[in-house]
């Protein structure tokens, strides 16, 4: 009985990591290069931007919101950053500019959501259009090229490790820390789990919503820098639909759309599942159209498995409780 319980507990907690593990095993059988250092580094480089956006989405979904503007804000912050770099030559200033614009857009999102009570879906959808429009207007729809040393963010390495991977790793640790070890993190779970209960527990919900949007803004800004430097261009049209990649990674990673549930490592695993899937299909040369179908099916299966293994566990808990109360 006890052993059974433990097994279930492990399944519940780690089901998404098991999915990832199975995927990695299958992938490595499909292509000998899959587990090569070069390829793993590739996967992580390809994942960095989406993962960073996914963390922002995760924080927002946990607290009962979401961001549909992140792809567009990424592009806007990115082209501003690129052009600031081209005129000042300062990597630091360019980096800060991206973050600044990411944060400004998200503070507007927060204002809409908390003060004007706009549903986050609509508020951030509006921001998506505005930010994309500003990016296009600013560049007259043209790509900015010749970025020079700016590419160091997305293409440079420290020792053998690509800088974008270092960014992703550091951000992962910071987000994990915020969610696990700060009062703010705990408050997010409460707000998303039951906003009225959070208010009745003395949590300043409005302030926390501003902060979580601001953090999302920082993440989007960083993602903007990595994206533009990775492609060595300021693309006002870039990153269309990236918010969906972020959302998908977060949801596949076990973040619940109804709020109050989600973990940093789960989201990381979700991003890796999608990243490995993309990578292996390119490695073995799967046709574009079939790729889309396979991706949709695998994502659905991963989520079904995850939810299923959690539900089994919940059912057990209630049974156990009824028994113990019966005594």
């Amino acid at each position: 009985m006890n052993k059974q319980n433990n097994k279930n507990k492990i399944m519940e907690k780690y089901s998404i990591f098991i999915v990832l593990l199975i995927m990695i095993i299958i992938c490595s059988m499909l292509n000998k290069n899959f587990l090569s250092t070069g390829n793993i580094s590739n996967i992580m480089k390809q994942l960095a931007v989406a993962t960073i956006l996914a963390y922002g989405e995760m924080l927002l979904i946990i607290s009962g919101m979401l961001d549909l503007s992140s792809g567009a804000v990424l592009a806007m912050a990115g082209v501003f950053s690129v052009s600031v770099y081209k005129s000042t030559g300062s990597l630091l200033v360019a980096f800060l500019v991206a973050i600044l614009f990411g944060v400004i857009c998200n503070l507007v999102n927060a204002l809409m959501v908390t003060n004007f009570k706009t549903p986050p879906f609509i508020a951030t959808l509006a921001m998506q259009m505005v930010a994309r429009g500003i990016a296009l207007l600013f560049t007259k729809g043209q790509n900015i090229s010749q970025l020079g040393d700016y590419v160091v963010f997305g293409q440079g390495t420290i020792g053998p490790i690509p800088i974008s991977i270092i960014f992703m790793a550091v951000i992962t640790i910071i987000i994990w820390y915020i969610l696990r070890h700060t009062r703010f993190g705990r408050s997010l779970y409460a707000i998303g789990g039951n906003e009225e209960a959070a208010i009745a527990s003395g949590i300043n919900v409005a302030k926390n919503k501003y902060v979580v949007f601001a953090i999302n803004g920082i993440l989007v800004g960083v993602a903007g820098v990595l994206f533009m430097s990775r492609v060595n261009a300021g693309l006002p049209n870039g990153a269309v639909g990236y918010e969906m990649e972020g959302l998908t990674a977060a949801i596949v990673g076990g973040t619940s759309f109804s709020g109050g549930v989600g973990t940093t490592l789960g989201t990381l695993a979700g991003a890796f599942i999608i990243g490995c899937l993309n990578n292996i299909m390119n490695l073995i040369g799967v046709d574009s159209y079939i790729q889309q179908i396979v991706k949709g099916v695998i994502i659905a299966l991963a989520v079904i498995w995850d939810i299923h293994s959690k539900n089994k566990k919940t059912a057990k808990v209630i049974l156990v409780e009824e028994k113990s109360e019966g005594k």
């Binding site: 009062r183 959070a198 009745a200 527990s201 003395g202 156990v320």
Partner: protein, 497 residues
Amino acid sequence: MEQEIKLRVSGIEKSFPGVKALSNIEFSVRKGTVHALCGENGAGKSTLMKIINGIYKPDKGQIFVDEKPVKIQSPIQARSYGIAMIAQELNYVPEMSVEENLFLGRLPVKKMGNVDWKLLRKKTEEFLKKEGLPYGASQKMKTLTVSDIQMLEIIKAISNDAQIIVMDEPTSAITQREVDTLFEKIAMLKEQGVSIIYISHKMDEVFQIADDITVLRDGAVVETHPASELDVDKVISLMVGRKMDNIYPKEPAQIGETLLEVKDLYSDGVFKDISFNVKKGEIIGFAGLVGAGRTEVMRAIFGLDSYTSGSIRKSGQEITIHKVADSIRNSIIMLSEDRRRYGIIPVRSVTENASIASLEKFIYGGYAHEKEERETVSQYFQKMNVKTPTMETAIQSLSGGNQQKVLLAKWMLRDPEILILDEPTRGIDVGAKYEIYKLMTEIAKDGKAVIMVSSELPELIGMCDRIYVMNQGKISGELKRSEFSQEAIMRFATGTR
């Protein structure tokens, strides 16, 4: 005059998980009369009416209309038997027009299945004109007053050829003048041979219009009499006449100085002239009928709602409360009546639910001391006798009583001085109730002040040192322990002298 029986229920029983709501109900309504149904909150009035209206299925028993046995399985079926219900909380779609609401679910259609708007408009206008109602068929429902809407509900019932109309607390939200209009309407309906089942807490109204009165208590019919054979006192004593059980572990407490004093608290349109105090070691009760404004007063003191004017003093010092954080800082906490809405965070663990209001105790020095958190919380759980499989179990999979104890633990972790407990035992079983009473006694013995809002008179009488009674947004009376009686409380609560 002996009239024929229009509606009769016989041997109706109904149980909900853990509760027997109705047992062996015998009840009949004569044609063309008003039959009042009286009873405390939770006596089973609403359940009985929902069975008659086909919302609940009875476990046992039979319903007869015109002495013919019928099976009513849905409100639509009830309607086909001429039964209509005007609910306490009116059901309507605020964004839709009067005509659409009036014919909701039975809009006239043309051959092709599309709505016949012309006919709808014509029918609606006929009704409005006949009833002399001063609004248009196309007006949006939300622009109407509550009494307008209520009138419309009645018209809706009549338009459907209802022969039996159930009115659940129809006057709880309307003015005296509108009450008069309603009563005129009821008199007219009676003449047309319509039977009315009238549920109300307001004794004066009941005696004004009822032909017969049935009193329910604990899910059973106590007595049925013609109204002429009863008076207010008799009905009240029938309503509350239950034996006091010895389930209240009240111990005489050391009552100290005044801890909280509220003076002339006023909130526009919600409550006024609220003045009361609570002393160290004291448990005070707030009695009143549903809608009397008790919860609203407490929410204002706790900072969940704002108040217009008045003062709140703690140990003689004036305090201002704008938000929950203010009251928590002043060591005032509140356990909400609506546990699911304002209490639990369903998907999170019991530990997190308990620690959420005192995070600074566990998250300090740069990281979360999770072990310390678990240990402290589990100590409180032991004290409160919380039963949970693990400390990580999501609170939603616990029983109501255990959830309530977790929430109490959450606030006890803050070691508050003043505790507001709004319906602390609602919806939990007898055993858990007893444990909560015991905890309340211990808390009071610790020199803390407890304010208990409750609709269950026996528990107020059993647990409190003093009871304030509210009626229609005002404190209508204050009773010392020596003056406690259900009759006395009900008199203040119903506004009858």
